[in-house]
């Protein structure tokens, strides 16, 4: 087999911004991808149709396989932060399993080797920790052109096609949004989901099912094997009709690209990522397939609104906001946070602040369902906008091992790891399996902007809310910001900071645990710092447990009518909460504070009390603008702090 890995552009679609949406959605057939001819690697001529074919994976020889296994033995045994927990939770020993695989690795076929290896890694049930072999092309996703969602009770769910991509991709005009799925390759649909869940990551059965449901129609090829079948036969019913219909739909391979605003490999932010890379690729693919205008606008860097009634934003990949009307509660704000995968958390938060100012302050629904995570700083710093409370971020521990000690002792890692070193060294005598947990988002950064939204807030999550999404949900609960609503039992339960082989290789350079380069295109991601919650759940890990909330079951109306019932449910939760508000306006010589529902106003200048507590009623208060760095107002209702605004005067 020819080696096509050299000099081949990773994202071919990137090369041509003029590609039509349909071309991008069509991609190439999986059968061509796996069995067809590999492309030449030469650039398409100007005006020619872009070549979506992905080069064929090359075979690994025995030595290369050993190299991969030895690396994984070293890093899973040495830095994988969930190792003690996974051993306890699943009664497994991945290091021993890898040792056993090593003994006969050279005799395995290519397929057997990859299957054995991915089974060991996915057996950890950790979406952070993934192996990607040479066949797993970065950014490529196998996709079926429709979205399956479920509603109803957990033990008797109904599976519905909630969205369909371009009609050209399905040769059955009746297969549209709303059809009910009955079978998958002749297997009852619910059974097919359960069977697939066995292959999926996820600590809890509901989390595995959620991922299985998603991966029935989308598979990130970078993080796992391709579908076994080239096409699927789907049995379905049109609602209110008894006739069972069947359609055959081929798998396609598309390349959704990363968002313009996503974190850049090698950037400072890239060391502070908590995300499921597979879910992120799938999320992007959903955007390509079902919100093509957003996907295209993102590629061209044009801010757009998601649709009518949505507010335009330049962070269209990560955010969407609109006003939702609710009969009993009046207008509410709805902020969808699709992802925390951003490179610049300051810009991201500034954009959220801007959007919040355009939303009613009567109450806000934060919707993080399906958020696969991203930059930890973005998630944890965002919390402060919604509460007058001081935010305490989650803390992170390293596995206490010779390897982590060597990494933390390396002079090149002093800035990154120096704070962890004393406890790693102390662990030799204390026997602690982990280092001291320390925040990755400095507490001062979590409180450097302060509250920006006045009204009460409810946050919605589901088992696909993962990693930085988990961290946001944990912070939301632990810092007592508002009510957490969960579709399913809890969030996806990914509690760690994730590094790549490149990050680890760089960090271990010069130590006695130096890692070699892996064969071309082979890589992995690894959970290296384990997240620990704060507040009432102080000390609890997030991994495998997730963050539970008030349970909610999705309805058919939710799936087909923009979460109608879910929004009504959230509105009902917001209804009983007393409303207070505070708006601060800075003028050249004065500061005006307009409040509602507050009885006391405290003013602090440069962090010190500025005047006696004012007794206030609804309306505006004015004071001379002091010559100072900062001014802070604290508003109380019945003695409780309900509003806080901190502004820079410089």
């Amino acid at each position: 087999m020819m080696d096509c890995s050299k000099d081949w552009p990773i994202f071919m679609i990137d090369q041509d911004l003029n590609v039509t949406l349909l071309q991008a959605q069509t991609g190439q057939l999986l059968s061509e991808f796996l069995l067809g001819e590999s492309p030449s690697g030469q650039r398409a001529k100007r005006g020619a149709r872009p070549d979506f074919r992905i080069p064929r994976a090359r075979l690994l020889d025995g030595g290369e396989r050993l190299q991969i296994i030895d690396t994984l033995i070293a890093v899973i045994g040495g830095v994988y932060c969930h190792l003690p927990q996974k051993r306890a939770a699943y009664a497994l020993d991945p290091v021993q399993a890898l040792q056993l695989l090593r003994a006969h690795v050279a005799a395995l076929s290519e397929g057997e080797f990859h299957l054995a290896l991915t089974s060991i890694v996915s057996g950890l049930r950790d979406a952070h920790t993934r192996y990607s072999g040479p066949g797993a092309k970065q950014g490529a996703v196998a996709a079926l052109p429709f979205l399956v969602e479920q509603y109803g009770p957990y033990d008797n769910p109904i599976f519905v096609v909630s969205k369909v991509s371009a009609p050209e991709l399905i040769r059955d005009a009746k297969f549209t949004s709303g059809v009910i799925l009955e079978s998958w390759n002749s297997i009852p649909f619910a059974r097919a989901v359960d069977l697939h869940a066995d292959r999926e990551t996820g600590g809890r059965p509901d989390a595995r099912r959620a991922r299985a449901l998603e991966s029935l129609t989308f598979r990130a090829l970078e993080c796992g094997p391709p579908p076994d079948e080239m096409m699927v036969d789907i049995g379905y019913r049109i609602p209110l009709r008894r006739t069972l219909r069947e359609v055959r739909i081929p798998w396609r391979v598309v390349q959704p690209d990363r968002a313009q605003t996503s974190h850049q490999p090698g950037s400072r932010a890239s060391r502070y990522i908590a995300a499921d890379p597979a879910a992120e690729a799938v999320r992007r693919t959903k955007k390509l397939m079902f919100s093509g205008n957003i996907w295209q606008a993102d590629r061209s860097g044009t801010p757009v609104a998601r649709g009518e009634r949505w507010i335009e934003t330049r962070f269209q990949d990560a955010l969407a906001a609109r006003v939702v009307k609710n009969g009993s509660s009046g207008n509410l704000g709805y902020l969808r946070i699709w992802s925390f995968d951003v490179n610049d958390d300051d810009a991201f938060i500034a954009e959220v602040v801007r959007l919040l100012e355009l939303l009613p302050d009567n109450g806000l629904i934060l919707d993080l369902r399906g958020n696969p995570g991203g930059l930890i700083w973005a998630a944890e710093r965002l919390l402060q906008l919604f509460t007058p409370n001081t935010i305490t971020p989650a803390r992170f521990s390293l596995l206490a091992s010779h390897m982590t000690r060597a990494m933390a002792s390396s002079p090149f890692n002093r800035m990154e790891f120096e704070a962890w070193l004393p406890s790693l060294e102390a662990a030799i005598s204390t026997g602690e399996p982990y280092s001291q947990p320390l925040p990755l988002t400095d507490p001062t950064w979590c409180n450097d902007i302060g509250q920006r939204y006045s009204g009460p807030v409810v946050c919605v999550v589901d088992p696909n809310t993962y990693s930085s999404g988990d961290l946001f949900a944990a912070g939301f609960v632990d810092n007592e910001i508002g009510t957490l609503v969960c579709v399913g039992e809890a969030t996806g339960a990914g509690g760690a900071n994730v590094w790549t082989h490149y990050d680890l290789r760089e960090a271990l350079r010069g130590t006695s645990f130096e890692l070699d380069a892996l064969p071309a295109d082979v890589g992995y991601t690894m959970a290296i710092r384990r997240a620990i919650r704060c507040g009432a759940c102080d000390g609890m890990p997030i991994e495998d447990l997730g963050i539970p909330g008030i349970a909610y079951e999705m309805t058919l109306d939710d799936l087909l009518h923009e979460n109608r019932d879910l929004i009504a449910f959230c509105a009902s939760l917001l209804k009983g909460i007393p409303r207070t508000a505070m708006i601060v306006e800075l003028n050249e010589s004065s500061v005006t504070v307009t409040t509602r529902g507050l009885e006391e106003l405290e003013t602090y200048v440069n962090g010190r009390p500025f005047e006696a507590v004012r007794r206030i009623s609804d309306g505006a208060q004015q004071l001379a603008r002091p010559d100072a760095e900062t001014i802070e107002f604290v508003g109380r209702h019945k003695g409780e702090i309900c509003q806080r605004r901190k502004l820079s005067l410089k």
Binding site: P265, R268, W445, Y502
Partner: protein, 524 residues
């Protein structure tokens, strides 16, 4: 390339074939062979015929005629921190009492923003330029070997001056012959160093730095307990210990004395007479930008000032030995090659210092060296390679690929090549320009360097040069850096030589009771 340097030779040698005493000087020649070693030191214009040397080596050797200028061993700075070389003197604002010890000042609020972050910006974004800057700064003060190289991901030997921790003498000796630690080591680490020293390594250790009697004196006791008080230990500072403690150093090694830094931070310095009485080998080191002098030639003057004020009676010869023969003997143990003395077999590291014309026909050469400033440094040769000097001497030495460098108004030539450039010349102007770029936009410079490093590791290319900080980082946020990298404010890059601004920054700052103000008098 072999080289002959003629002038008034100050060999500071104990070799009777070279000179009758260490204080002797004479008109003569230093012959440096192709191997970078001194082949001979001869008097007058005598040839080396009859010696065991290969005369053919010198058939076409350029002869540098320094006239009556002093030809001295290249200076050795046994205490520096190159990563912090660009920084100005630092004080914690409004502090009125000296620091107790070295664990206190890094905890001060202004330390990270004044010291750690600016230094980090340079090591991350312009490591080669930073090294070049620091080494040129040493070189213009006559330094040929310097300690305190930042930890690096590749060896730093064989470039401009000798980086003591990295030196291999062109592969003659193995790496790790000289170990060093700025940070205080744990008992087991000290135990490991004790073993290494017994196996032939030299260990340079910051030890008991602080006010006399302060708690850090226990670091010296810990070194003793661990078995580190050996002949091959080079203890930096030890100003916190009482003089009697030197008695526990059974087979004395060396102490590096950095009086400027000691007085600046603690108002008290090492008890030199007590150490000398114990036959500890005393050396002088310049320390770092935030609390030190710019080169060891400057530090020598501070040592002289302290000696004078305290009545220690150190002669110019005693002091000059502290930057030549004394540290040279330390290095000779580690490298099995003599440094810091001009004698056959020794390293061909030489400085030429202008004779003091005002001091009469036969002035004490050691006083001349003591009083010399950067303007008096006429030529610096490392390993037989002329690296820096006046246009005339560099031309005589046959060095053509040089660039101009101005030092306090004096013009010199610099034979610097790019760190990774196949001998391509590199000027100080270019180096400074890059450092200024980093200073202008540290955030972009740091991020860009990170991206390049990542791209290299991803493509399988060798990683770019990487350096690390060796001093305490201070109280920093998680990850060591401010949230917004654009908040890193890099102070103006300091001139290479001691200048009026440097002296103007001394009065009223630090805890030296005015003593350090006397330094300016040497530069009038």
């Amino acid at each position: 390339m072999s080289l002959i340097i003629a002038g008034r030779i100050i060999p500071i040698s104990g070799d009777q074939k070279v000179a009758p005493s260490e204080t002797a000087s004479f008109q003569g020649r230093v012959w440096i062979g192709n191997d970078g070693r001194i082949a001979a030191v001869t008097k007058g214009t005598a040839s080396i015929a009859g010696s065991q040397m290969n005369l053919a080596d010198f058939d076409n050797a350029p002869v540098v005629d320094a006239g009556t200028d002093l030809v001295v061993p290249g200076f050795i700075d046994l205490h520096s921190h190159l990563a912090y070389a660009t920084l100005p003197l630092w004080v914690e604002p409004n502090r009125t009492v000296p620091f107790q010890h070295h664990d206190i000042w890094p905890t001060r609020p202004t330390y990270p923003e004044s010291v750690t972050w600016p230094a980090y910006a340079f090591i991350e974004a312009a490591p080669a330029e930073l090294l070049a800057y620091a080494e040129i700064r040493a070189l213009i003060g006559g330094t040929t070997s310097i300690q305190g190289s930042p930890p690096s991901n590749r060896p730093l030997d064989g470039w401009l001056v000798r980086n003591i921790e990295d030196e291999t003498l062109g592969g003659e000796i193995g790496r790790h012959k000289v170990l060093a630690s700025t940070l205080t080591l744990k008992p087991e680490q000290l135990g490991e160093r004790a073993i290494s020293m017994r196996q032939g390594a030299t260990f340079i250790y910051h030890c008991a730095e602080g006010s006399p009697g302060s708690i850090v004196q226990r670091e010296y006791r810990a070194a003793h307990t661990a078995g580190c008080l050996q002949r091959r230990l080079v203890a930096i500072h030890t100003n916190a210990i009482d003089s009697a403690s030197y008695g526990t150093w059974g087979e004395p090694g060396a102490i590096v004395w950095s009086p400027f830094s000691n007085l600046w931070l603690y108002g008290a310095t090492t008890d030199v007479p007590a150490a000398v009485a114990r036959k500890i080998n005393l050396c002088v080191g310049s320390d770092w930008g935030p609390s030190g002098t710019r080169n060891v030639l400057g530090e020598l003057k501070v040592a002289s000032l302290v000696s004078e004020v305290k009545g220690w009676g150190l002669s110019a010869f005693d002091l000059v030995k502290m930057i030549t023969a004394n540290p040279g003997d330390v290095l000779a143990q580690a490298w099995s090659r003599q440094a810091g003395r001009l004698e056959p077999g020794a390293l061909g590291d030489v400085a030429v210092i202008a004779a003091n014309a005002k001091a009469g026909s036969r002035p004490d050469p050691f006083k001349t060296i003591l009083r010399a400033t950067e303007a008096d440094v006429q030529l610096v040769v490392v390993d037989g390679r002329p690296q820096y000097g006046t246009e005339r001497l560099m031309r005589q030495a046959g060095v053509t690929q040089t660039s101009m460098i101005a030092i306090n108004g004096e013009t010199r030539r610099l034979a610097l090549t790019r760190f990774e450039g196949n001998g391509e010349p590199w000027s100080y102007k270019e180096i400074l320009a890059r450092l200024e770029e980093v200073r202008d936009d540290p955030k972009e410079a740091i991020e860009s360097a990170r991206r390049l490093a990542f791209a290299a590791i991803r493509s399988g290319e060798p990683p770019p040069l990487r350096l690390a900080l060796d001093m305490p980082t201070g109280r920093v946020p998680v990850g060591g850096l401010p949230k917004d990298l654009s908040k890193i404010s890099v102070p103006p890059i300091q001139p290479l030589a001691h200048d009026k601004e440097f002296f103007a920054s001394i009065p009223g700052r630090g805890f030296h009771d005015g003593l350090l103000e006397g330094l300016a008098d040497f530069y009038d």
